[in-house]
């Protein structure tokens, strides 16, 4: 039932698009599309954005693991602060790679293992107490990754001393320590695996797959990118906490729930990463290369008289500007005044339409994730 209205909506948009704009331009478009250098775009994506982003993130997850080990060897409030800082850095850096769920990341279900929230704290406590767990199971998505870490270093007690006591005085202290270490270690191990594959053969597999069919890298990745924006950025960070689909605001669904003042920063970082990727901005920010924006300009994509690439950037800017008015803690924002959250959702949804309908149509890419099975 869920997918149908969306599907019809797309049809309606398609209909209006076809009847108003493209009729006299189609032959030109097709010619130009064939001459756009898709491989150069894939190379820019891989070499200047994806690989350096993973390299950077891998270094953050390694630090996170090292600081976790240091903490469990001698738990203290001071060392807790160090892990928290490593946690924040890594969680922010994760926002730059989460959209790249392709290749090894897709095989591993990387994003689900690193960032399924809300964490299932009942199960986490139970598993710590029984000492019996296997974090490789997909049924344990919500018991690991950043959300579990958030709980373990920010949510176990009301203040730092109380939290540290779980790792010192608690009868199960050693079990808490092992679990904390297992979670950190797994975040790093999975990240190393994904990063290694990009730095190994997968980079060439990706950039050489220039086919414009549904299995080509551009088509496949574009689906991943737009799906990330729709489901994980729009719905995950804003829609579910705001109750955009149910009418019931749910602060417990906020990302980084226990860190409290961190969720907006994560949201902004994700927005910035998505927009930079759209514009082909190198990970180090120094310059920009071939991108969706250039591809759209090349095809001279127009929506209602305006340049589509500029419209999309304008929409990203509007979303970021609106985010300024949000509380640093989105959980607090939901609790105190949910309307700005719903407004954010509406702006994000407009961007979804621009990306999923206008951009993908202009690039002649079919949406492959609408038709999910539902079973």
């Amino acid at each position: 039932m869920n997918k149908i209205p969306g599907f019809l909506l797309i049809l309606i948009f398609l209909f209006s698009a076809c009847s108003t704009e493209n009729e006299d331009k189609t032959p030109d478009n097709e010619k130009e599309e064939n001459s756009f250098d898709r491989e150069a775009m894939l190379v820019n994506w891989a070499d200047n954005i994806i690989l350096p982003a993973f390299q950077n993130f891998e270094s953050s997850t390694r630090t996170l693991e090292e600081q976790t080990t240091a903490f469990i060897q001698d738990p203290s409030v001071a060392k807790l602060e160090v892990i928290r800082s490593a946690f924040r850095t890594a969680y922010l850096d994760f926002q730059s790679v989460s959209m790249f769920e392709i290749g090894k990341a897709e095989q591993l279900n990387y994003r689900n293992f690193l960032n399924t929230y809300p964490a299932n704290t009942t199960n986490i406590r139970e598993k710590i107490e029984t000492g019996s767990y296997n974090l490789e199971l997909p049924s344990s998505y919500a018991e690991q990754g950043f959300p579990a870490l958030d709980f373990l270093i920010n949510g176990l007690g009301a203040n730092e001393a109380e939290i540290v006591s779980f790792y010192t005085e608690n009868p199960n202290a050693s079990a808490y320590k092992s679990y904390l270490e297992a979670v950190s270690t797994r975040i790093n191990a999975l990240t190393v695996e994904v990063s290694d594959s990009w730095h190994g053969d997968y980079r060439d597999t990706f950039v050489n797959n220039t086919s414009s069919s549904s299995t080509g890298a551009v088509d496949k990745f574009t689906n991943d990118y737009v799906m990330y924006f729709e489901k994980f950025l729009r719905s995950g960070k804003i829609g579910y906490p705001a109750g955009a689909f149910t009418g019931e605001p749910s602060p417990q669904n906020t990302e980084a729930y226990y860190a409290n003042d961190f969720s907006k920063e994560l949201y902004l970082k994700a927005l910035e990463s998505v927009q930079d990727f759209f514009n082909g901005v190198h990970f180090d920010g120094s310059s920009a290369g071939k991108s969706y924006k250039q591809y759209l300009d090349y095809l001279d994509s127009i929506k209602e008289g305006a340049n589509l690439g500029e419209l999309i950037n304008l929409q990203f800017d509007t979303i970021k500007a609106q985010a300024d008015s949000l509380d640093a803690s989105l959980k607090e924002q939901v609790r105190t005044n949910n309307t700005p959250m719903l407004e954010a959702f509406d702006l994000l949804q407009m961007a979804v339409v621009l990306l999923k309908v206008d951009m993908m149509q202009a690039l002649s890419i079919s949406v492959d994730y609408v038709d999910s099975d539902g079973d």
């Binding site: 209909f15 095989q107 689900n112 199971l137 997909p138 998505y141 299995t215």
Partner: protein, 402 residues
């Protein structure tokens, strides 16, 4: 996208033509056949359409499927009781009190199984085995990671799939298997089969307007409606105008997959054609025009059989693509659905021969190729392609269309 767009236009045109025409179309032959706009037939001002029994079985199937992965509460016994409707197994009293069961109509058609109880029983046992495997081997390992030769759970994106030692999801085998063994078999090989429609005095009674005792329909009318009910009988599907809920209903069995074919430009039109055939055939019965009726039977048999074949190939190919990307969870889910549709090929009906499009031994061969050794863990792209090709060829479509 273009394909979807085209479908939309077609649907729009169809809608327009339906609503602007006169309500009833008339085919002139020896008898005058009056074809209503919707599946609506009356005698003395009251409807003659009834298929409660089919709706009951579809509801039972939904409940069974709902419990199939409920490892905390369901057991082999509870699912088996639901399958056979023994010991008040359902949450609904109406279902418990019903004299009907799903199991009694599995592989139970007049045409294929009335004198073939050996195979009929073997097929019923297959479904019992799907239940037993799920509630024993799979349930025992539900907290283990599946590996070649070992049952357990496996990730498919944010979903968790529970598979047996060969990577097969038993719930998919059961549900997609029933599309053939229950729905297609009862429709195509039982209620639409001439020996059933024309049994005993059916023709004479139909022409004389002699209705069943206490009912408003003739036996032949009712048989036809029972076939209709297996396709359109889900409670969320409107009886008179089922296609108005195509791809929007809660049905997860045959009607759902008819909708999937409709969405594919290569097969668009099949939903309308099938509905028209049901309607014309029913109108032909009212008019006593059995030749016209049997022409519609041929259309329905071909189309419903095609739904099964196209989805079998679709999922085998989807599984192949996912295997090539080493997305095992996603691949196993596709192959499990594919397995169920392959299993269902046994119940298809080629109107040219009045028998399945592929022989039992061919289909058994496919199943063996899919499951031998460690099953989906080591099935090759070549095997999936060769099975796909054989199916597509038998049904006259291209693998790429599915």
């Amino acid at each position: 996208m273009k394909a979807y767009f085209f479908t939309f236009i077609l649907a729009g045109l169809t809608l327009t033509s339906c609503s602007s025409d006169d309500d009833n179309k008339i085919i002139d032959g020896e008898d005058t056949v009056v074809i209503p706009e919707n599946y609506s037939f009356e005698r003395n001002g009251n409807s003659t359409v009834s298929y409660d029994g089919q709706t009951t079985r579809l509801k039972m199937t939904s409940e069974i499927m709902g419990d199939f992965t409920d490892f905390d509460n369901a057991t082999e016994e509870s699912l088996s009781n639901m399958f056979a409707n023994d010991n008040n197994p359902f949450s609904s009293a109406a279902l418990n009190e019903s004299s009907k069961s799903v199991k009694s109509k599995v592989a139970a058609s007049n045409l294929y199984f009335s004198a073939n109880t050996v195979e009929s029983n073997a097929i019923k046992t297959d479904f019992e085995d799907f239940i037993a495997t799920q509630m024993n081997a799979v349930k025992t390992n539900k907290d283990e990671l599946a590996e070649p030769g070992i049952a357990g759970q496996i990730a498919d994106g944010s979903s968790i799939r529970y598979v047996n030692a060969q990577g097969l999801e038993m719930n998919q085998a059961f549900a997609k298997g029933l599309i053939g063994a229950l729905q297609a078999d009862q429709m195509l090989n039982n209620y639409l089969a001439q020996p059933v429609l024309d049994e005993g005095e059916n023709r004479a009674n139909n022409e004389a307007g002699i209705t069943e005792e206490g009912k408003n329909y003739t036996t032949m009318e009712h048989k036809w409606d029972e076939a209709y009910g297996y396709l359109y009988g889900d409670p969320s599907v409107p009886a008179e105008d089922p296609n108005s809920m195509l791809n929007e209903s809660n049905d997860r069995l045959l009607f759902n997959y008819l909708g999937r074919l409709e969405e594919d430009a290569d097969f668009a039109g099949i939903a309308e054609e099938t509905f028209e055939a049901f309607k014309i055939g029913r109108a032909a019965i009212v008019a006593g025009d059995y030749e016209l009726r049997d022409e519609q039977v041929a259309i329905i048999r071909e189309n419903i059989s095609k739904v099964i074949a196209v989805r079998a190939v679709h999922y085998l190919q989807g599984g192949k693509a996912a295997l090539e990307n080493e997305n095992y969870g996603s691949a196993f889910h596709e192959l499990s659905e594919g397995f169920g549709f392959v299993y269902s090929l046994r119940f298809t009906n080629n109107p040219a021969t009045n028998s399945p499009y592929l022989t039992k031994s061919q289909i058994d061969g496919f199943i063996q190729e899919l499951l031998e050794g460690n099953g989906f863990w080591d099935v090759t792209p070549e095997t999936l392609d060769s099975i796909s090709q054989e199916i597509a060829t038998a049904f006259g479509f291209a693998v790429s269309e599915a």
